[in-house]
Symmetry: C2
Subunit: 390 residues, 2 copies
């Protein structure tokens, strides 16, 4: 059959392969992006679902496509507390932040339009945008996030730039956070170049050191920022709930595209999230989860420091789920994983090349720590280090 | 901002408006497409969720993007019983059948490609396809479904026809079922014209009279049919679970687009559906639900027969959720709803014009009966009839 050409852009997926790997108990995999199931509020959710399912069957019925009103209210209140001017009407409930990427791509992109991203960037975003056949313009990043001089240069050469995608807090894959001055400058440049800014914040509440920085949405002066958030890392990914906050002109369009894509999110899961937020203190839960993840971050950095050769650099993320390793030039992390790490050390990670939208660099790797047991972190890193005796 | 042109095609949505109407207790609305919440197996689902949430937290975690393996197995077994050659590997779990429309549109359609549909057709399908900017080629229908001579004529004039969309069983909006000879002929024509056939079967198991007819997928000779099914009408729509069955070449592509669109369906809801199918007899549940819906269908047809003037025709659906009314030529059901039905009779329905992909006819209306109480069916139809005294 004559499939649409756009399908040529959707190649085999490293993420999908990794989700499959996740089921193999033989391997210690640092490859996932999973939160720790021991940190899910399973008891509280048990109570909430039991309550919802023993009463009125409304939670099993259809509901408004924009999302359950009580959940939109809760999200709006949390967004206001985080410095954004937001009411329930500015919130669209979506199937995880990932769906926000698909909807924003559909909203903005015609074939050949340019998406500006961090270099490297989140693989799931490339997978979401690819079917709309964009060109990518990656921007150099350092320890303060996107380099604004490079962004300016990239934009001056990209007349078809329509969408700027960023994970400003504890980025996936690098763990890096964008500084406040750069956030302000990014908004100025977006205004100047008439861009929609897609601010993806799945890890924002998992900060382990220092103070929270203002969201891009809170700095938005012309209604150009779509802020995406997610319950996956603060409640449970299996509920598939996230949200988009945007100005009315944009949100109305996203809401229609949401309706077109899948009618609505699960009424039951939305009702459960809202009821959980009514009955329980999610901030206390996040504080506890944060302590658990902080300990895992400290542990992986400590073991990397102790066991890996000095020629392998790694980032020190102030939050989130990942650290990003840089091996000496010429080292190929994909080859090493295939030939040594998986078959001999029985350790997996995500080779870094896949996160570069245009020109892959082969000497990086993304390591997750949040979904791993302490024992696996120590054993996996230590085992791998014994194959790095240069 | 310069939104993609495709957004021009996504207009205000009658479905979304109706989902909002659904919350207004003043009005008797025949406008929904809701199953009856009294027929949900709420007690059994309560037990299943309680069991899942008191054990291992895996149901709250991520899982493979194609769907939970045990649910794919259950669906495949049901598809085999329904005459399709199908294993778990041929099944993709999706966010209701609606997501199958979005994914198939993304798979097949470049701007200007032609989608062939019944005339009238399901509004949700038009909403799903519109962002891909197709042309529509609607095919005349009668009491046996799509007219095959007209389909042949339409295809001979549509060199860019790529996708044929049909609801063969108890169609939305008309309630009509395609005959077996026409199903066979449709497959021949799809082969001849190199089409992908999208067979949407949300109501298939809600048959009230006569024997089940073979699915298009069971008649498929060249792997051209994508069969879509849904748990929304046989279990509960609030779980947002459906499935696609397709040949490997097509299914692999749909699976990648699913991953790109929203990562996966809710692990918890998939686990609950699978556990429900392990523990309980869904066929006994469907038989009971069917009896309830059959009684509602009989009731609405009886009250229409008794109270409406003979100049208003209506279909006698052998299953599903809807009957389709045809008023005398010149009568405008949208105007009548706005000026009389809603403000005076306090009754709503879906004016038929919205279901025609290219040339609206204004003298039809879709009436749902499945989501209504018996009292509302009698009161709503009777009240409306008093304004039809020609």
């Amino acid at each position: 059959m004559r499939f649409a050409d756009r399908m040529g852009r959707v190649g085999p997926s490293a993420i999908r392969d990794l989700l499959r790997h996740g089921a193999d108990p033989e391997l210690i995999s640092f490859g996932g992006g999973y939160p720790d199931p021991a940190l899910f509020p399973a008891g509280e959710l048990h109570g909430v679902y039991a309550e919802l399912l023993s009463g009125d069957p409304a939670a099993l019925q259809y509901c408004p496509s924009d999302g359950l009103p009580e959940l939109r209210e809760h999200v709006a209140a949390r967004m206001r507390r985080d410095g954004m001017d937001c009411t329930a009407g500015d919130v669209l409930i979506i199937q995880g932040a990932q769906q926000g990427l698909d909807l924003a791509g559909k909203l903005m992109l015609n074939p050949g339009d340019t998406v500006v991203t961090e270099n490297p960037t989140f693989l799931g975003a490339l997978i979401a945008f690819n079917p709309f056949e964009p060109a990518y313009a990656p921007v150099r990043t350092d320890e303060d996030g996107m380099d604004m001089a490079d962004l300016e240069r990239v934009l001056s050469r990209s007349p078809r730039a329509k969408l700027l995608y960023t994970v400003p807090d504890f980025q996936n894959p690098t763990g890096i956070t964008m500084s406040t001055p750069r956030r302000r400058r990014l908004i100025e440049l977006a205004n100047e170049h008439d861009l929609l800014v897609l601010e993806d914040t799945p890890y924002r509440e998992l900060r382990y050191d220092g103070d929270s920085l203002p969201t891009l949405k809170s700095l938005d002066t012309e209604g150009r920022v779509v802020h995406l958030g997610s319950f996956s890392k603060i409640l449970a990914p299996g509920m598939r709930l996230g949200w988009a906050v945007a100005d009315p002109e944009v949100l109305d369009r996203l809401a229609l595209l949401k309706l077109a894509a899948d009618t609505q999110c699960s009424t039951l899961n939305m009702a459960a999230a809202a009821r959980y937020l009514d009955r329980h203190d999610i901030d206390a839960h996040i504080t506890a989860a944060r302590a658990g993840y902080r300990a895992k971050r400290d542990l992986i950095l400590e073991v990397l420091q102790k066991t890996f050769p000095d020629t392998v650099a790694f980032t020190t993320p102030r939050g989130g789920l990942f650290t990003w390793l840089t091996f000496p030039a010429g080292f190929d992390t994909a080859e090493f994983m295939r030939d040594v790490a998986v078959p001999r050390a029985r350790v997996a990670y995500v080779p870094g090349a896949t996160f570069f939208p245009t020109t892959p660099e082969h000497n990086h790797a993304r390591f997750n720590f949040s979904g791993m047991s302490d024992d696996d972190i120590v054993a996996g890193i230590t085992r791998l280090s014994t194959y790095l005796n240069w």
